[in-house]
Every structure is written in structure tokens, then in C-alpha cells.
Amino acid sequence: MISFIRFSILFIVLVLLQVLALDNISFYGYATPYLYIYFIIKLPIGINRYFLTLLGFILGLTIDMFCNTPGIAAAATTCVAFFRRPVQGLFFQQEDFDSYIPSVSAFGGNFIKYAVVYVFIHHAILLSVESFSYFNITNLLLKILTSTVLTSLLIFAIDCFSSNKKKV
């Protein structure tokens, strides 16, 4: 129950942060952080796959509603939510699957690899679908790479910050 409330708050905070602040950021016209994907990254490891996919869909749809991009964020977020388990399988050790919530403090390097690859997949789908109307491959690749770096940095900053607080 407590974790349910915690994740609901995380959901609302991430959506508001995204639509009110982060969406307006664009470093040199390329890098925009899409931090809301952090919600999917942090969901408990043993979560039901149907529920996880549905949560991804709802999260994407909420972002879409605010950003006037119907379906685009939803398509990307649903896809990464569905393929979360296989991506985790690539990087996590056997014993990692016993813990509850993925974090830097518990998994170290494995979490970093998992998060970067995960963010990259999400951004690649999101920005490719978005750029249907103006296809410019160099511009698209630059956007995907710079945005991935920016989002990943933000995720590590927040994750380290929140896990340090727990230890104290």
C-alpha cells in the first residue's frame, strides 16, 4: 500500500516536471530530457507484465495529453514497458532479481547499463515516430544521442540523491 502511494506520487511529480519544466529545455536545439521514463525504470522488478504494459500506456497517454502529441509518447512508453524484462535480463545478475526496486545503490554498474540502454530505446522510438513528418537522419540521430545522455545524467543524479537519503 505504501509503495502504491509512493509510485502514484512519483507518477504525478514526474508528469508535472516533464510538461511544465523539462519540455521547454532544448540544448542547442537538440537535447530535451524525457525524464518521465524514470517511472517505468523504477517500478518493482516482479511486477505483472500486463500491469506494467498498461502503466506504460497510461503514462504515455498522460504526457501526450499535455504535449499535444496524441499517441507518440504512448507508443514509445508502452513498447519499452513491455520489453522491460528482456532488457533487465541482459544486464542483471541472477541475484539481482531477488531485490524489489532497481536502484544504483543496490545494483551499481548493472543499473547504469540497464538505464542507459533503456532510455536509448525509448528515445529512439519516441523521436523516430515524432520525426515522421520531417525526415532528416543526422538531425534525428543527434537528437536521440544527446537526449539520451541528458536523460541518463538526470536519472543518475536523482537516483543517487534518493538512495543516499535512505541510508541516512
Binding site: Y50, F66, C67, F132, S133
Partner: protein, 287 residues
């Protein structure tokens, strides 16, 4: 049969996933068609409220700059009033001229109404950007109205709810605005290439037509959305199109979309009349 059910159960997650993705892509393509009644955009009440609260807070940060702009605009308008007054004084000396000079003008400007609104949601980083404003049908805004700012053209109203409206700015792949170079009557279409929010492109400009770098681009007034002569931007550069007879002009947009805070919605009283007239013509069978 049992095998089929077992197969469905085993791969249920996949089917669920594909179903949701289909919904997403339905939404994406649905939005591409021009007339859509989907309520999934920021003119709905929830998104509108959130944006209007954040817009209220943000509007305080820009007050100083806004004030300076108002002063500048005020000065310019004052100047124009003086100029017009002087003009009127000279014209009233000759009563016949007065009548001729004003009959045309007042008819042209009387058909437009202006509604001032505040920007509460905005983006410049996406391939298809939209702007949300804090007024809707209650203030008399309807879809397909033109939107300008004190710096130049902004875009066209796309969706309206009772208290909010969504504008499709020039910075959108679906925006085509008919423009021309000041002092010339050749129209071209203004589009955005999706890269930088400061520049757009004027396509289909005939090569033989004269222009200079720094010339003003204004609306052509051929569509019934914008009146003629509203500032759009200035020419920055030109390049050849694949067809040798036409040029593409790079245009520095007059409106700074990143810091846009107030807009003016133009409602055209005669628009309905014009559309009905044009429809009549389309309905008639060609002989």
C-alpha cells in the same frame, strides 16, 4: 481448439501489447487528419487548468521585459496617431478627398475583431509544436482563426474548448501560410523545416522575381484567415529548388516563439459569408 486457447494464454501479454500499440498508432494517424474531434489535447479542462496555474506563476517572471515592449509599442502607436491626425488635417481641407479616402479603409478594417489572450502552454522543441492559450469559445474564439503577436504572425487556432484553445503555430509540419514579399504580389507558401524555431522557409518563389536580403515578408491575405500585410519575418538567404525556376527563401521569423507570452486572435466577420460563397461555386456542376 484447446491448442488455440493455450496459445492465446501463453502469448496473452503479446496480444495485449500489440492491442495497446494499435491504439497508439490509431491516435497518431487520427491526429494527422485535419478534422478530428478527439479530446486528447491540451484544450481539455485538466491540462488547461494545470497550464493556466503554471502560466500564472510564469507570467510574473517576464513582467519587466513585457513592460518594455509595451512602452515601445505605445510609443509607436502614439506616433502613428500623430501621423494620422496630421494626414486627416490635410485631408479635411479638401472635403471631396476625405470621402474618397475613408470609405474604402473603414470597410476593410471593420470586418476584423481582435481578442487578446495569454499563452499558458508552449513548445518549440518538437517536430509538431502547439501553443495553448487561456481563452476559448466563451471569448468568441473559433477554430481556423488567425493568431498574431505584436512581433508578427503566430499561427492558426486548431482546437477550442469553452475556456481554452490550442494554436497550431508556424512551427508545425502541417502549417502552410500564404505569404509574399512586401511591395510585390507574387505569393509563396511559408513552411517550417522542423530544425530551428527562429527560421522558416518560403517555398515556390519565382526566380525572375526581384528581392533583396533583409526584405520584409508579409501575409498575402489570399486565405480568409489573416488580413493582408501582417509582418511575418525578413529574408535571410535563398537557395535553388530542384526545379530551376523557383527559389526557396530562408526567413528569419519576426515572432520569438520561445518567449511568446501574449497573442492576438483575429476574428473575421465576413469569413462565413466568403466560405459559403465559395462553397456555392464548388457545388455547381462544371459545364
Amino acid at each position: 481448439m484447446r491448442n488455440l486457447i493455450a496459445f492465446l494464454i501463453k502469448n496473452g501479454a503479446w496480444f495485449f501489447f500489440i492491442l495497446l500499440e494499435l491504439v497508439c498508432f490509431y491516435l497518431i494517424f487520427q491526429f494527422n487528419s485535419y478534422q478530428h474531434s478527439l479530446y486528447l489535447n491540451s484544450s481539455n479542462e485538466i491540462a488547461g487548468r494545470v497550464y493556466s496555474v503554471s502560466g500564472n506563476v510564469q507570467s510574473y517572471f517576464g513582467l519587466r521585459r513585457e513592460n518594455q515592449q509595451l512602452w515601445a509599442q505605445n510609443a509607436e502607436l502614439q506616433q502613428r496617431v500623430w501621423y494620422l491626425q496630421e494626414l486627416m488635417n490635410t485631408v479635411t481641407n479638401d472635403s471631396i478627398n476625405t470621402n474618397n479616402a475613408f470609405i474604402g479603409d473603414s470597410a476593410a478594417y471593420g470586418k476584423y475583431n481582435f481578442i487578446i489572450a495569454r499563452v499558458i502552454g508552449n513548445s518549440v522543441t518538437k517536430a509538431n509544436n502547439f501553443i495553448t492559450i487561456n481563452k476559448g469559445t466563451k471569448a468568441g474564439i473559433e477554430a481556423e482563426m488567425g493568431v498574431i503577436s505584436e512581433q508578427g504572425v503566430v499561427g492558426i487556432v486548431r482546437e477550442v474548448s469553452s475556456n481554452f484553445a490550442v494554436i497550431q503555430p508556424i512551427l508545425n509540419s502541417k502549417s502552410f501560410i500564404s505569404c509574399k514579399i512586401k511591395n510585390s504580389n507574387t505569393p509563396g507558401t511559408l513552411i517550417w523545416d522542423g530544425v530551428d524555431y527562429k527560421y522558416a522557409e518560403l517555398e515556390g518563389f519565382p526566380r525572375h522575381e526581384k528581392f533583396a536580403i533583409g526584405d520584409s515578408i508579409i501575409t498575402s491575405g489570399f486565405s480568409n484567415i489573416f488580413p493582408e500585410g501582417i509582418f511575418v519575418g525578413t529574408v535571410k538567404d535563398s537557395e535553388k529548388e530542384s526545379d530551376d525556376n523557383f527559389l526557396t527563401l530562408k526567413v528569419t521569423l519576426g515572432t520569438d516563439f520561445a518567449t511568446l507570452s501574449n497573442v492576438i486572435v483575429i476574428s473575421n466577420n465576413q469569413r462565413k459569408e466568403r466560405i459559403e460563397l465559395e462553397k456555392k461555386l464548388e457545388g455547381k456542376p462544371k459545364k
